[in-house]
């Protein structure tokens, strides 16, 4: 199925969880936040949250900034 991850149409397997996406896409980052359709997915819910077709996902990490 297709989701939009950080603005890019992305093919993921059915049943993919947020936790699995984070593990593959944000390896090495310690401070990560995920939004699904504009709403925060709390870290504690990553393992139980499965993405659905058409989801708009944002995966954000810390960068330097003023």
């Amino acid at each position: 199925m297709e989701v939009t991850l950080n603005g890019v149409p992305t093919e993921v397997t059915d049943g993919t969880t947020i936790a699995a996406l984070v593990a593959t896409r944000a390896e090495g980052h310690s401070r990560i936040a995920v939004a699904r359709n504009g709403e925060v997915v709390p870290r504690g819910a990553w393992t139980d949250t499965r993405v659905a077709p058409g989801d708009e996902l944002e995966m954000l990490v810390a960068v330097a900034g003023g």
Binding site: S30, P42, L60, V61, A64, G65
Partner: protein
């Protein structure tokens, strides 16, 4: 205050005059932004030289990030992280970004930034107040980046912001404090800490901010894009301390004509 009162009081020591924001105490009155440094190593040296205890960080899409090292470096420096909402142009975006930052960094403190356009990076006052009200209602500790309008500063304090952070001049411009009168006026009428944020170019700008009564200074590019960031960070640390001391000491009034400091009586005829 009489001479006797002054003599009876202690000579102020730098550091004995802490900054308190939302019940949290900081010895340093310099807050550092982390953007613009040529390398993490130079950033770390600058952060250490500045003596800061609070630094800003941002959130961006994972592909645009070099890796997780930034947070490691800052944690090694022992500083507290203040996530910002840099680049947000609407209250909706800023509120969502703040929620994500709270999740990522485990802090409800946020430097709220809602800009009106990306050429001037000036704050959008309408969206800013809207976002501040929403975030305060959600339990955030909001430090609001704002223009140097004293009335807007008061509105942000009324909305429950923990600190009001007026610009001296546009972000990254290094133009210093373009309207010192507004900054002094804002400090006078805003009942929460005032942090001069944006526009600092060099040490004298930071000293002036403190002399005008600001409680702290937030700067990034003045240090990170200086030829020698570590040296400039040390200069800013001294400037903030000097300005704070001078503010407390009470400057002499400005006069149109000279006033001799050596008495005229007793001059010899030569």
């Amino acid at each position: 205050m009489t001479t006797e009162d002054v003599l009876a009081g202690p000579v102020p020591e730098v550091g004995a005059d802490p900054l308190t924001i939302a019940g949290e105490t900081f010895t340093s009155r310099l807050i550092m932004g982390t953007g613009g440094a040529p390398s993490l190593e130079l950033l770390e040296r600058a952060v250490r030289a500045s003596g800061t205890e609070l630094v800003t960080v941002a959130l961006r899409r994972v592909e645009a990030s070099a890796g997780g090292a930034l947070v490691d470096v800052l944690e090694r420096c022992g500083v507290r992280l203040l996530p910002n909402t840099a680049g947000c142009m609407t209250a909706r975006e800023a509120v969502r970004t703040a929620r994500l930052a709270r999740e990522a960094f485990g802090t409800s403190w946020v430097k709220l930034e809602v800009i009106g356009d990306d050429r001037t990076l000036l704050p959008d006052p309408v969206e800013l107040v809207d976002a501040a009200e929403q975030l305060v209602a959600e339990g955030f500790t909001v430090l609001a980046y704002t223009s140097d309008d004293p009335i807007l500063g008061r509105r942000l304090a009324d909305a429950g912001c923990a600190a009001v952070m007026p610009l001296g001049s546009p972000i990254g411009s290094g133009l210093g404090i373009r309207n010192p009168h507004n900054i002094a006026l804002l400090r006078e009428i805003v009942p929460v800490p005032v942090v001069l944020d944006a526009g600092i170019g060099t040490a004298s700008d930071a000293a002036l901010a403190m002399e005008l009564g600001c409680d702290a200074v937030l700067l990034a590019t003045a240090v990170t894009r200086a030829r020698e960031p570590e040296r400039m960070a040390r200069a800013m640390r001294s400037a903030v301390e000097a300005g704070r001391l001078a503010h407390g000491a009470g400057r002499i009034p400005r006069r149109w004509h000279a006033e001799a400091s050596t008495q005229f009586e007793g001059r010899p005829d030569l």
